[in-house]
């Protein structure tokens, strides 16, 4: 039986200092998921960002499809921008000159998301928001080249020192973002037809997003299972703020979220990068600390 829910204790815990390891986990993996998503575009800078490819003309008025008109770049500009995005993203992940790299990465992502509405998806927009948010955190103080070089200079053994903490807002922003993102997604689904049609998920595995896995899953899974999956997704998403707030529902919710994104990643072709980004966010925000520490210590083993 779970312990009795105490609201003041929850509030106190919300504003308590948070472990740096969560931020570092996000800092290492978020740029990799974003660069993975962008990779198919970054390899065609000319077709993507210059008038060698098709560009939407200036519509000349406010239009939801063109939030801001940005004219095409010259080819050298597009190549430079793509190289800068890749380089800054990799430097953020490696934790080298982290602050400067984060600012450059965030600016590149904002530009890329706004410059081309045809290539802007959830990852482009969410990625820019995440990069901007990371700019305002003290990430890069552990598990990166900056931290390694600083420790080396001082002759410090990082394994002998516990990781410092950060103030609540640095980590809570990402946690609240994930929970509210799911809530908004659940509300959008209710606003759509998820309560009227019981096989929404089934209807989405027939188009060009279909993979061999989704084809096999759809063949193997009895049809009556699809509505249950649909309502599980809906319950998970609309209840996400509650599931992740309460200590005893957090771990089951994490597993459901990871399972849902594994399914999305395997079954909806190019959506795999969105699924990976969300899995990184889920793990970084809500995984037990022991998991994250184990994962990161394995990655950069101290001497």
């Amino acid at each position: 039986m779970p312990a009795k829910l105490k609201v003041p204790a929850l509030v106190k815990a919300f504003f308590a200092p948070q472990p740096l390891v969560r931020l570092e986990f996000l800092r290492i993996l978020i740029p990799l998921a974003i660069l993975g998503f962008l990779s198919s575009r970054l390899s065609y800078p000319g077709e993507w960002l210059t008038d060698r490819g098709f560009q939407i003309p200036d519509l000349g008025h406010r239009d939801w499809r063109q939030p801001l008109y940005i004219p095409p770049l010259p080819l050298w500009g597009a190549i430079t921008l793509c190289a800068l995005t890749t380089l800054s993203g990799l430097l953020v992940s490696l934790g080298y000159r982290t602050r400067m790299a984060l600012v450059a990465f965030a600016l590149c992502l904002i530009y890329l998301a706004l410059a081309d509405r045809l290539a802007a998806f959830t990852v482009s927009k969410l990625g820019a928001v995440l990069a901007v948010a990371l700019c305002f955190t003290p990430c890069g103080n552990a598990f990166g080249l900056d931290a390694w070089l600083a420790n080396d200079k001082k002759g410090k053994n990082p394994s002998a020192h516990p990781l410092p903490a950060v103030t609540w807002g640095n980590v809570r922003f990402f946690q609240v973002l994930v929970a509210l993102l799911y809530l908004a997604s659940g509300l959008a689904k209710i606003h759509g037809d998820w309560f009227q049609v019981h096989d929404v998920l089934w209807t989405h595995v027939h188009d060009s997003y279909q993979t061999l896995t989704s084809y096999r899953v759809a063949r193997a899974l009895p049809y009556r299972v699809w509505p249950y999956l649909q309502y599980l997704v809906l319950a998970f998403e609309t209840g996400a703020p509650l599931w992740f707030l309460l200590p005893w529902t957090r771990l089951p919710a994490l597993w459901v979220g990871l399972g849902m994104h594994t399914f999305i990643g395997l079954c909806f072709g190019p959506v795999i990068w969105f699924a990976l980004l969300m899995m990184v966010l889920l793990l970084g925000c809500f995984a037990p600390l022991a998991w994250l520490e184990r994962l990161l210590r394995l990655r950069l083993k101290p001497d």
Binding site: P138, G169, A184
Partner: protein, 193 residues
């Protein structure tokens, strides 16, 4: 405890901004008209991240381009892959996205038609210079169509997705969305390549 980025007042502003961002993100999914009116477009854009797979699919719609072959005097299906090489073969391709978003917008459809025609004819010219050819050859304009496949009933099971040529679609499942005006087609076909 690690030092925060910026002084306390700055952090308070960040909290206010984050709260505003969260509010617009959630409210925007249920009352989009309200936030569209009050939030500047470029900022609103970054909050529109939650509306994925919100509706069931009734039809699978694939957009295609046909070129008016000056030689044969009829529309023939074009491979727009060379002009739109990013994410080929799925609906994240820029041609698919352009028609999906701007179908019905004459300014954009006209620009798209000109882009496809010019690039296809440039390719024909380059190949002819090398003594090669492409099918169809020179084109005078394009017709952009939607090819529609109904989502099968659960009892019908699932088919492995594969891209079919336009000619394999039944006549009533192909709908014209844009066609280059005839006058412009004749003019282009008469011009030297």
């Amino acid at each position: 405890m690690l030092k925060n980025v910026g002084p306390r007042a700055f952090r308070c502003c960040l909290i206010a901004l984050a709260s505003l961002f969260f509010s617009v993100m959630v409210v925007g999914e249920v009352r989009s008209g309200f936030v569209y009116r009050w939030v500047p477009g470029p900022l609103l854009y970054f909050t529109q991240i939650a509306g994925l797979f919100t509706e069931s699919k009734k039809l699978d719609v694939d957009f295609r381009a046909e070129g008016w072959s000056c030689q044969d005097g009829l529309f023939r299906e074009l491979d727009v892959g060379p002009q739109f090489p990013i994410q080929p073969g799925n609906k994240e391709n820029r041609f698919q996205r352009a028609v999906y978003f701007y179908n019905g917008n004459p300014l954009v459809m006209h620009a798209l038609e000109r882009f496809i025609t010019d690039h296809h004819n440039a390719m024909v010219r380059d190949l002819e210079a090398k003594g090669q050819s492409i099918d169809p050859g020179r084109i005078g304009g394009v017709r952009i169509v939607s090819a529609v496949t109904p989502i099968p009933e659960p009892s019908e099971g699932i088919q492995r997705y594969g891209r079919k040529p336009l000619s394999e679609y039944p006549f009533d499942r192909v709908h014209t969305l844009y066609e280059t005006p005839a006058k412009r087609i004749w003019k282009r076909c008469r011009e030297p390549l």
